[in-house]
C-alpha cells in the first residue's frame, strides 16, 4: 500500500503541532507502508514564503516532494479578510478568497495529486483549514483521509467546510472532544472515523540535577513548555502566577521553555530558558513538580502527553475543552477557569505530593493505554484495513 501524507510544511526544523504530528506519523507508518510526503517549500507559517528547494528530498529516509507557494501570505490583508468573513455576512466566493489568502497557495501540489491519483492508495490530509486540504480532498474525495486537527475557532463554521467534512473516506481525530464537535456540526457520524491522536517518544535517561546546575535553578519549580504566546494563554498564566506568588508567599518558580513572542514579566521566579534541546527539555520536565498548560485552544497537546508519559501531573486551562476532557478522562491533571480555581488547584498540587504521585501514575497509565506508538500505529492500520474491506 502506498500512502501520501499531504501537509502544509514538513522538515526536521519545523516544530509546529500539526506538522510535527504528521512527521512522526509518517516516520512510524514507514514500517508498514510505502509512504511519501507532499508539501510546500514553506518554512514560515505566517507568510508561507518559499524556503526549502523545490522537488524531491529525503528526510529521515522519507521521500518528500515540495511544491512552490505561488504567492506569500500578507498577514495584514489576510487579517482584514478574515475579520470580514468572521464578523459579516459574506458570499461563498469571499470564503474561497479567504482560503486563497490563508494559503499556502500551492496549485502545483493539487495538480500533482490529480495527475498521480493512481500512484497512491490513499492521501492523508493534515489540517482541514488550509488550501491543500480543501482542494486536495475536493479533487480526490474517494481516496482522502482527513486529520482535521480542528481547534475550537469560528473558522470551522464557514460554509465551504460544510461539504468538506462529508467528503473524505475517513477521519482521524485528535481527541474525543474534536470528534464530538465535528460530528455535531457536520452530522458526519456515518463516515468512518476514530480518535487516534499522536504518540510521543520519551528519552530513556533524564538528568534533572544537571539541568538545575546548567541553568542555575534552585528549589521547586513548575514548567511550561511550548511557544510563549498570548494565544497559548501565557499572558494569563503570568498574571495568575504573579498574583499567586504575591498572595500565597510561595517559593515555587515558573520555568519557561520555548521561543517567546510575548513580553515575559521581569519577575525573579519566572525563568525563561528559551528553546532547548530535547534532552534538556525532558530533563527539565522530569525535575518539575508539574506541567502548566495554559492554552485556550488545543486539538491535542503533545507536551501534555509527554508530561503524562513521564508521570507528571498537569495544571491545564479548563477553557480548552480538549485539555479539560483529557484531564477528566486520565484523572492526571487539574484545570482552572478563573484565578480562584487556578490558586486552589495549584496550591493543592504543590502541597500534596501524594496527589501529584497518584496523578502522575494515572497519567502514565493513560498514556500507555492510548498514546504509545503501538496503539497509534494499530489504529491507523485498522482504519486502512476497514477502507480496504469497503473497496
Amino acid at each position: 500500500m502506498k500512502l501520501a501524507f499531504v501537509v502544509q510544511r514538513y522538515g526536521l526544523e519545523i516544530n509546529g503541532g500539526a506538522e510535527l504530528h504528521c512527521r512522526w506519523v509518517v516516520e512510524h507508518m514507514k514500517k508498514f507502508c510505502d509512504v511519501e510526503v507532499l508539501t510546500t517549500q514553506a518554512y514560515d507559517y505566517i507568510t508561507w514564503k518559499n524556503h526549502f528547494p523545490e522537488g524531491e528530498e529525503m528526510v529521515n529516509g522519507i521521500c518528500v516532494r515540495r511544491f512552490p507557494v505561488i504567492r506569500s501570505r500578507d498577514p495584514e490583508r489576510f487579517g482584514r479578510i478574515q475579520n470580514h468573513i468572521v464578523d459579516n455576512e459574506h458570499t461563498f466566493d469571499e470564503e474561497l478568497k479567504w482560503l486563497e489568502e490563508e494559503g499556502p497557495l500551492v496549485p502545483a501540489l493539487i495538480d500533482y495529486i490529480k495527475d498521480h491519483e493512481n500512484d497512491y492508495d490513499y492521501f492523508l490530509f493534515f489540517s482541514y483549514r488550509y488550501y491543500h486540504s480543501y482542494w486536495g480532498i475536493n479533487a480526490l474525495p474517494h481516496k482522502s483521509i482527513l486529520v482535521p486537527t480542528a481547534e475550537h475557532d469560528s473558522i470551522i463554521h464557514l460554509s465551504l467546510f460544510k461539504d468538506l467534512f462529508r467528503k473524505p473516506r475517513a477521519f482521524i481525530y485528535n481527541s474525543v472532544e474534536e470528534k464530538n464537535r465535528i460530528n455535531a456540526l457536520f452530522q458526519n457520524q456515518d463516515i468512518l472515523g476514530d480518535v487516534v491522536g499522536v504518540g510521543t517518544e520519551i528519552h530513556d535517561a533524564f538528568f534533572p540535577d544537571d539541568f538545575r546546575q546548567k541553568y542555575g535553578i534552585n528549589g521547586d519549580y513548575v514548567i511550561y513548555i511550548g511557544r510563549i504566546d498570548e494565544n497559548k494563554g501565557c499572558a494569563q498564566l503570568f498574571q495568575y502566577f504573579q498574583r499567586f506568588k504575591q498572595e500565597k508567599a510561595s517559593d515555587v518558580k515558573l520555568v519557561l521553555i520555548g521561543s517567546s513572542k510575548l513580553n515575559i514579566p521581569a519577575h525573579p521566579d519566572i525563568i525563561h530558558l528559551g528553546f532547548l534541546s530535547e534532552e534538556d527539555k525532558f530533563s527539565g520536565l522530569d525535575g518539575a513538580l508539574m506541567l502548566m498548560m495554559p492554552s485556550f485552544y488545543e486539538s491535542l497537546s503533545m507536551v501534555t502527553l509527554e508530561a503524562w508519559a513521564m508521570g507528571k501531573p498537569v495544571l491545564a486551562n479548563g477553557q480548552c475543552e480538549v485539555l479539560k476532557g483529557q484531564c477528566k478522562r486520565s484523572n492526571a491533571g487539574l484545570y482552572y477557569r478563573s484565578y480562584f480555581e487556578f490558586e486552589e488547584a495549584l496550591r493543592l498540587l504543590l502541597h500534596t505530593p501524594k496527589l501529584r504521585d497518584a496523578m502522575g501514575k494515572n497519567g502514565k497509565e493513560f498514556f500507555q493505554q492510548h498514546y504509545t506508538w503501538d496503539v497509534i500505529e494499530n489504529k491507523y492500520l485498522s482504519i486502512l484495513d476497514q477502507l480496504e474491506k469497503e473497496k
Binding site: 504573579q242 514579566p265 519577575h267 484531564c327 493543592l348 504543590l350 502541597h351 500534596t352 496527589l355 494515572n362
Partner: protein, 200 residues
C-alpha cells in the same frame, strides 16, 4: 513542599487510590463559592491590572513644551493634506503600537470586569442563600400560625355548637321547671281542697 502543609487542604477530600479529577474540581468550586473573596490585592508588577478601578484606555503619549508647539504649527500647516500623508505612511508603526496598547488595556479592563463578576457572583450567591433561609423560616412561622388559626376556628365552632346545645337544654329545663311549678301549684291546691273536704 511538604506534608506539613497538608492540613491546608483538608477541606478537599481525595481518595489517592482512585483519584477523581471531576470530584476534586467540584470540591474546589464549592470551596471557592463558600469563601467569597472580596478584595483584589494590588500587584506591584502590574498595578493597573489589579487596581479596583478599571484602567482607562491608554492614550498615545504626545510631546510637550516646544515640541508640542512645533507639532501644533506643523499639524495646522499640513492639515489640508493630512489624509494623503496618513494614506502614504500606512501602516504606521506607532499607530499599530498604540492600537496594541489600547487593545491590551481593553483586555485588562475585561479581565478586571470578569474578576468583579466572579466576586459579585459569590456575594450574590451568599445573599441569596441568606434570603432563602429567611424565607424558609418565615414560611415555617406562617404555617404554624395557619395551623393555630385553624385550631382556634375549630374550637370556636365547637364552643358555639356546645353553647347552642346548652341553650336548648336550658330552655327545656326551664319549660320542665315551669310545668313542675304548675304541677306543684295544682297539687298544692288539690291538697288544700282535699284537706277542707276531710277536715272541714
Amino acid at each position: 513542599m511538604g506534608d506539613e502543609n497538608n492540613n491546608k487542604n483538608e477541606e478537599i477530600k481525595i481518595d489517592y487510590e482512585n483519584v477523581d479529577v471531576e470530584d476534586i474540581m467540584n470540591q474546589i468550586k464549592k470551596k471557592i463559592a463558600s469563601q467569597p473573596r472580596i478584595s483584589e490585592p494590588e500587584l506591584p508588577a502590574q498595578p493597573s491590572y489589579t487596581s479596583t478601578q478599571a484602567p482607562a484606555p491608554l492614550q498615545p503619549e504626545g510631546p510637550s513644551g516646544k515640541k508640542a508647539k512645533i507639532k501644533n504649527v506643523m499639524l495646522k500647516l499640513f492639515k489640508p493634506i493630512t489624509p494623503l500623508i496618513k494614506f502614504l505612511v500606512l501602516p504606521v508603526h506607532q499607530e499599530l503600537k498604540d492600537t496594541i496598547q489600547n487593545l491590551y488595556a481593553a483586555n485588562q479592563r475585561i479581565d478586571l470586569l470578569e474578576r468583579h463578576v466572579d466576586e459579585n457572583f459569590n456575594q450574590i450567591r451568599q445573599k441569596l442563600d441568606e434570603v432563602n433561609q429567611a424565607t424558609i423560616s418565615r414560611l415555617e412561622e406562617l404555617n404554624r400560625v395557619r395551623e393555630y388559626t385553624q385550631l382556634i376556628h375549630n374550637l370556636s365552632h365547637n364552643i358555639v355548637v356546645e353553647l347552642t346545645k346548652l341553650k336548648i337544654e336550658q330552655e327545656n329545663l326551664k319549660l320542665k321547671t315551669r310545668i313542675m311549678e304548675k304541677d306543684f301549684e295544682f297539687l298544692g291546691k288539690r291538697e288544700k281542697t282535699l284537706e277542707s273536704k276531710v277536715f272541714g
